[in-house]
Amino acid sequence: MSEASTTFLRSLPKNIFSGFVVSLIALPLGLGLALASEAPPISGIIAAVVGGIVVALFGGSHVTITGPGNGLVIVLLGAITALGAGDMYQGFLYTLAAIVVSGVLMLLLGFLKLGRLADFFPASAIQGMLAAIGIGILSKQFHIMIGNAEAKGSIVSLLAQIPSGLWEVTKSMDPAIWVAAAVGVMSLMIMIFYSKIRNPYFHLIPAPMWILILTVGFSYACSWFAIPYPLSEKYLVSIPDNVMTNLAFPDFSKAFTQEFAVAVFAITFIASIESLLSIKAIDKLDPESRRSNVNKDLKALGLATVISGFLGGLNVVTVIARSSVNVNNNASNRSANFFHGLILLALVLLFQEQLRRIPLAALAAILVYTGYKLASPALFRRIAGIGKEQFAIFIITLLTTIFTNLITGISVGILVTFIIHVILNKSVGLFIGNLFKPNILMFKEADEGNYYISVKYFSSFVNFYKLKNKLDAVPESESVVLDLSMASFVDHTVMEGLQNYSDTFTKRGGSIEIIGLDKHGADSVHPFAIRKILPFDPLKPIERYFTKRQSDLENTAADYQWNYRANKNIGVDFLSNFIFFRTREIRYFYNTLEDDQQSCRVLDVEFTEGQFIAKEVIKSTLMYITLDRSLPVFTLDREGLLSFLYTGAGFTDVTIPRHDYFNRRFHLSGKDPKAVRLVFTDQLILFLESHPFYHVESNGNAIMILKKERLLGVTEIKAMIYFGQELRSLLQV
C-alpha cells in the first residue's frame, strides 16, 4: 500500500468524526437558511448533502465544508419573490432553474481560471456587503424568532417593525406565540452563552444541535405527559412525507426573461465571492498550510450546484463557519466534507419524524445569531479603527445594499472606494494613466537568493491581482523583500492582503518583508491603513505612522535588549567623515537600534547622490560600530566598484600576501597599506571569506558596514548585526 493511502486511512477516523460534528451544525443551518430564503427547508439539506459529496470528490481545497451559504439568503429570497410574483412555491421552481444556470456559470468561471474574481473587490466594500447581508437575515428572522411568521417588507421596514413586534408578543393572547417566542429567546441565549460555558462534555455537541435536541425533546416530553403541544404546524418545520420521492424540479419556462438573468447574475456573483473568500480564509487555518486550487474548487462547486438545483436544492458554496468547525475538529482532508454530506443524509432519512417537531423560532434564533455575527458592533469598531475613509466605504456599501440590492451595493462600494482614492491623491491620472501599465518587477537577488519585488505607481484593489500573481509564484518557504518605495499610494485592500501573504509565508518558514513604506503617511496607526506618499514634508514625524517593519524592529530591539528610536535625527556628523559619504549628502537618519554600551548602532539613513537634476534620494540601512582602539583608515569593497571614489581620497590598493583568493574577491584599499595589512590577520580574512559580503569602511576610530543601497528587511538587519558584532570582536584585539 502506498504511503499516501496509508496516511489517508489512518486519518479517516478523525475525518469521519469531524464530518459528524459538522453535520450536526449543517442540519439546523441547512433548514434555517432555506427557510430564511422562503424555500422549502429540505432544499438547504439537499445542497449540503450534494455539496459535501460532489465537492469532496472533485474539489481543489482541503478542509473546507460546502453547503448552503448565508450570503445567498438575501439573493435567493429576492429571486424567489421576484420570479414567483406572489406564488412562493412557483418562484422557488423558477429560482431552481436560475440556480442550475448559475452552477453552469461557476463551472465556466473555473475552466476560465477566474478564481481571481474575488481579488477585484475592495476589502471594506466586501465587509459592508456582508454586514448588510447579516442585517438582512437578522431583520427578518427576528420576527420569526418571536413567533411572528407574518412579518413582511423590506429590510428597513422589518427592522423598524422590531419594537412593535416585541410589543405585539406581550399583548398577544395566543399561547402558541408565547411559547414560540420563549423557544426563540431561549435558543438565542444558548447560541450566545454556548462559548461561555466551559464544560468539555457540553461542548461535544455544537450549540445549534443543542437547540434542536432541547426543542424536539420538549415536544416529546409534552406528548409523554399527554400535554397538548402548544405549537401548531404553522410554527414547525414542514418536510415532505417522503424525502426521497418528493423532490422539486426546476422550471425553466422563465429562462429568457430579464428578471431571470438578473437572478442568475446575482446568485453566481454572491456564490463565487462567498466561496472564494471562504476558501482563502480557511487556507489560513489549515494546520498543514496547503494551498487550495480555487479554480478546481469553483468547477466542483459549479457541478455540485447544477446537481443540487436539479434535485430541488439550493446553491452549493464554501461556507466559512462550518469549515472552521471542521478545522477545529482536526479534519485533515476532503473526506471530512464527504462524511458531513453522507451523515447529514443519514440523519435526515432516520429522523424525518423528529425534524417535523423543530419549531421555526428555534431555527430563526440560530439565524439571528449568524446575522448578528456578520454585522456585530465589534466589526464596525474594527473598521473605524483602520481609518475614516474605510469606515465611509463600509457604511456607504452597507446602506446602499440595505436600501437597494446586493449588486448595486457592491458596485457603489467599488465606485466610492475609487473616488475616495482619487480624492486622497488629488489625482485621477495616477490611477487612469497607470492602470494598465505593468507595475510589478520581480527578480531573484543574485547574491542572497531572496526574491525582490518592486511596485511602481500605485497598488490598490484595482491592480492588486498583478502583485498577487507574482507573490503566488513564490514558494512560501522563500524570503521576499517587497519594496513599495516607488509606489505613491497603497490602499487598505493591499495592506490587508499583504498581511495575509506574510502570515502564510511565516507559517511555512519563509518571510515577506515590506520596505519603503516609511515615507508614506497614514491616517491612523492601524497596520492596514492606506499609505500615501507625503511629498513635501521631509521632517514630518514618522513615529505616528508605525509600519510593520518598524514594529518588527522594535521587537528585535527588545529581544536583544537594545534601544530602538524611530524618530528622525539630523545629527549626522559622526557619519560624514566616512569616505563613502564624501560625495553623498546625508539628510537624516531614523529607525535607530543601539546596544547598551552604545558601541553598535544600526540605522536607516536617507542621503542624496549627485546634484541638481541628476540628484537621487537613496535610503539605506547601515551599521555603525565604535571601537576602543584606533584603526587605520581603510575600505573593503567588492571588485572595486566604488574605487573611483577612493583613489580620489588618496587611497591605494592593498593586497594581502599569501591570500590570493581574498585579493581576487575583495577590493581593499587604505591610506597606509602597512598598517592595514597588520589589521587583516588570517583570522579576520577567514571570517570575511566565509561570511556574506558587506561593504566595510573604517574612518580611524569607527567602522561602518553597509549591505545594499536600499533599506534592509528585519532578517537582513539581524544578519548584519551578527556580522558586525563578530567583526567588532575580531578587530577589538
Partner: protein
C-alpha cells in the same frame, strides 16, 4: 581594434533654455565615442541664432571635436529623417521631456515619431548635464533576439568609452514561457522548477554571446547577468530604475505599427516613462 559603432552622431537642436546643456552633453558623448557630430537646426538661419550656437560651441570641453552645423527648413520629423540618411548617421540623439512637478520623464511627440521611424540607433537623454556625471552602470537587454548580440556589443563598447564599471545583462523570463499557471502547491513546484530551467537556459545563451565578444570589450568591465520576471520590454526599465542604472541599452522593436501603439509593447512602455537615459540599438546594416 574593436569596430566603432557610432561614426556619425546627429543632434537636432532647438533654441530652448536647455540648449547649452544639451550641446555640452552631446559634444562630450561625441568625444568619448570618437565620432563626428552633426548639429541640425530645423528653422531659418539668422545671424543671431548662428551667433548663439557658436558662442555655446566655444565653451565645449573637447576642442578637437569634429562637428558640422546644418540649417534646414521644413517639417522637423521629415527633415531630421532625411538628414540622418543623407549624412549616414549611426546615432540620433534626442532629449526627453520632464513631467511638470514630478521627476518622471517621457518622450515628446516629435522624438517619439523619430524613434519609431529612423533607421539608425537612438539615444534618449533624460538628464544632460553641464558638467560630466560619470556613467557607472549600464543595463542591457539579453532577449532571445537576433539583434541582441549587437545590443550587448554596443553596451560593452559604450561602457568602455564612457568608463562605466558595470554592465548587467537582463534576461526577461515571461509568464508564457513558464507555461504553468500556479494554482496549488503542485503547480507551484512545477512552475518554480521550470523557471529555474529557463533561467539556466537564458544564462547560458547570454554566456555564449559574451564568449563571442572581443576580449578588449569584456576585460575592463564587471559583467553580470540577471533574470527578471515581469512584462517584456517594460520591466527592464523598472529594473534599471530600481538599481539606479545610468544607461539602458535595448534592441529596437521589430515592427512599430499602429497596433503596437494601441496595444503598447516592448519599447512603447519605455517611451512613456523613461527610467534613465536609453540607447535603442538598430542594426542599420
Amino acid at each position: 581594434m574593436v569596430q566603432q559603432p557610432f561614426k556619425t552622431m546627429l543632434f537636432g537642436f532647438a533654441f530652448s533654455p536647455t540648449l547649452e546643456i544639451n550641446i555640452m552633453e552631446t559634444s562630450r558623448l561625441a568625444h568619448f565615442f570618437n565620432s563626428k557630430l552633426v548639429l541640425l537646426h530645423v528653422g531659418e538661419k539668422t545671424a543671431d541664432k548662428a551667433h548663439r550656437i557658436n558662442g555655446i560651441l566655444d565653451k565645449i570641453e573637447h576642442k578637437d571635436l569634429d562637428f558640422e552645423i546644418h540649417w534646414e527648413t521644413g517639417d522637423p520629423v521629415e527633415t531630421i529623417l532625411k538628414a540622418s540618411q543623407s549624412n549616414d548617421v549611426d546615432l540620433l540623439v534626442l532629449g526627453a521631456m520632464q513631467r511638470e512637478n514630478v521627476f518622471t520623464f517621457y518622450v515628446g511627440s516629435i522624438a517619439r515619431k523619430l524613434t519609431r521611424q529612423v533607421k539608425c540607433s537612438v539615444l534618449l537623454l533624460i538628464k544632460p548635464a553641464q558638467v560630466r556625471v560619470p556613467c557607472q552602470h549600464i543595463v542591457v537587454n539579453g532577449l532571445d533576439d537576433p539583434d541582441t548580440p549587437t545590443a550587448i556589443r554596443c553596451a560593452l563598447y559604450t561602457a568602455n568609452a564612457l568608463g562605466a564599471k558595470r554592465v548587467t545583462i537582463v534576461e526577461e523570463i515571461r509568464q508564457q514561457e513558464v507555461q504553468v499557471t500556479v494554482e496549488d502547491d503542485k503547480s507551484l513546484r512545477q512552475a518554480t522548477l521550470r523557471k529555474e530551467r529557463l533561467k539556466a537556459r537564458e544564462e547560458s545563451r547570454v554566456q555564449h554571446i559574451l564568449e563571442a565578444m572581443p576580449e578588449e570589450l569584456t576585460s575592463k568591465v564587471s559583467i553580470k547577468s540577471q533574470s527578471i520576471f515581469g512584462k517584456r520590454g517594460y520591466s527592464i526599465g523598472h529594473y534599471a530604475e530600481v538599481i539606479r542604472a545610468d544607461l539602458l541599452v535595448m534592441n529596437a522593436p521589430r515592427k512599430s505599427g499602429v497596433l503596437d501603439r494601441i496595444f503598447p509593447h516592448d519599447i512603447e512602455y519605455i517611451l512613456s516613462d523613461l527610467p534613465t537615459d536609453v540607447l535603442i540599438i538598430r542594426n542599420s546594416s
